[in-house]
Structures are given as C-alpha cells and as structure tokens.
Symmetry: C2
Subunit: 165 residues, 2 copies
C-alpha cells in the first residue's frame, strides 16, 4: 500500500504519531496479548496466527519504539515484556474492545471480553470527560494547539485550526 | 502484507473485530477528520495526504461498515457524514491521541490537541474503571467469556481463557 510509506512521526497530531508506531493493527493485537501475559514468540504466533516473518518484524518495531522490551527467560531464550509505555496502551485497547463489543457482535453472541482481575466483572464504559469531570461526546471535540506535555497555552498558539496531519 | 488477508470478523475478541474494520490506521485518521467536521473527498485528501485511490477505498469500506454515510451536499456532490456508530469512535481516537501526546512528543513540543468545544481546555485523561468506578490499570485486566451485548454470565462460559483471536 503506497500510503503507508508516508512519515507521520513528525505530524502535529498525536493520534497520527501514535498510529505511525503501530503501523497496522497486528501490532495492537500483539500488545493485547502481552497485556494478557503472553511473552514468547511461539505463543504470540499461536494466538494471533501471523506468519513468522511478519510477527518478527512487528515485535522488532514494538521493541524499537519502547513498547516491548526483551529479557532472558528461564530457558535461556528471550521473552517479550511490556514497558510502562506499552502498559499505558491498555486504555486504548479497552476503548477499541468496548467499541467492538457494541458494534461487531450479534445480540447474545458469545465473545471474549476484558474483565477486572479481582471481581471478574466487565469494566465500566470508557468515558470522555472534561478536566472538570463533565461527560462529553463526539460533538464536544475540536482541535486546538498546545505545547506538550505541559499543556501550556500562549496567545500565539491558542487557536482552532483546520485538520492537520 | 500477507497477514492482512486473515479474516478476524468472526473472532471472539472484540478488539480483533473492531480492528478488522479499520484495516489500517488511515481509516482512523479519516474518522478523526470526520469528527472535526471534514465531509468532502478533497478535504480528506488534503488533510491526510493519501493517494486518491487509497482514500477512495478506505472511505468506501467505512461506508460499507456503517461508520460513515453519504449524503448529497449543496453542490449536488456527495459528502461523508459520521453515523452514530462512527461518532462512538471518538473515545478510541481520544485514547490514542492522549497516548500519543504522552509518548510521541518532546517536552514542550507544539502539537495539535483535542479540546472541549465549550471551554477550549484539554480533556481529562481517559481512565479505565471497574463497574463500581474504581480506577484500574493494565495489571487489572484479564480475559473472560461473556455473551454480548447483554453481558450475561453462565457457569459454562464463565471462565478465564488463553488469548484468542
């Protein structure tokens, strides 16, 4: 696919930069499995059903981007472990998961879900909220420019803009 | 890429089914722009910088999957509008966006962010919570089987499982 060559790693849009790292959705499924405790190459392969060379490329890219790290396991081979940066993708995975549950299953259809380890109950729906805690939806979003990560706003930069990559 | 041919639309994992719809991350950037009010082919193209044939394929797939719908605009051409299913992706986009802000920008680097239309302030961090409202993180997640969307649990199906596609 031609479009995939475009480099979004310097884009002003954080979603673009984030998605640039995943490259495609296989990488997010690898993170999903890693969150569930999968650590070995063969286990990832069995779970995701991806050709070895593709899985290998994806794992390498996730390591290069600091989402996974490698460590020696008991057998002297290496295992893949999520970094803190990788663990913080849990919210992204849960948001996608919940959307999939709402829109990609027939009523009553059995699926695998994410549950709280302690109570084995499903999680609350991920909710967008303002900094004051008010629940918002799609209609409340707009673009703004801010310096990151301090989220300072200056008169010069505080403006709404056309969509940007 | 060979792996992309795999059909995950019947997978028990909701994240897999959801990601199957997007196919790749360009589709999520199209949804991002649509959330910001982009409606015309040329505007999507200008914003995302994608080749026309690829953009056309992605738009078509999003329409087929009920995320976008087409409507005639004032000029007699057609415009793309998010359905309710599409609008409910806002939380996914915000979660990815916030992760990108935290991990893909240098300190103080200027970026475009999502702000509340009313206050122009950044949103609160998307937070995973149990059904009782307790904040949880990556370590609290595990797989469970439930019927959807009623989230009923039966003795037969209520079990933890190995990762599944």
């Amino acid at each position: 696919v031609k479009g995939r060559k475009t480099d979004l790693s310097e884009a002003p849009c954080a979603a673009s930069r984030a998605l640039q790292i995943f490259g495609d959705w296989w990488s997010l499924l690898i993170v999903r499995d890693a969150l569930m405790g999968v650590q070995r190459f063969g286990e990832f392969q069995k779970s995701i059903g991806l050709a070895k060379n593709i899985l290998s490329t994806r794992l390498k890219k996730l390591v290069e981007n600091g989402i996974l790290t490698t460590a020696p396991d008991e057998d002297g081979r290496h295992k893949y472990v999520l970094t803190e940066k990788g663990q913080s993708l849990a919210g992204v995975i849960l948001a996608i998961w919940q959307w999939g549950e709402d829109h990609c299953f027939a009523p009553g259809e059995l699926g695998v879900t994410l549950v709280d380890r302690r109570t084995t109950k499903a999680f609350a729906k991920m909710q967008m909220r303002t900094s004051e805690g008010r629940a918002v939806d799609a209609k409340d979003l707009r673009f703004g420019f801010v310096a990151k990560p301090a989220r300072r706003r200056s008169a010069r930069n505080s403006r709404t803009s056309r969509p940007h990559r």
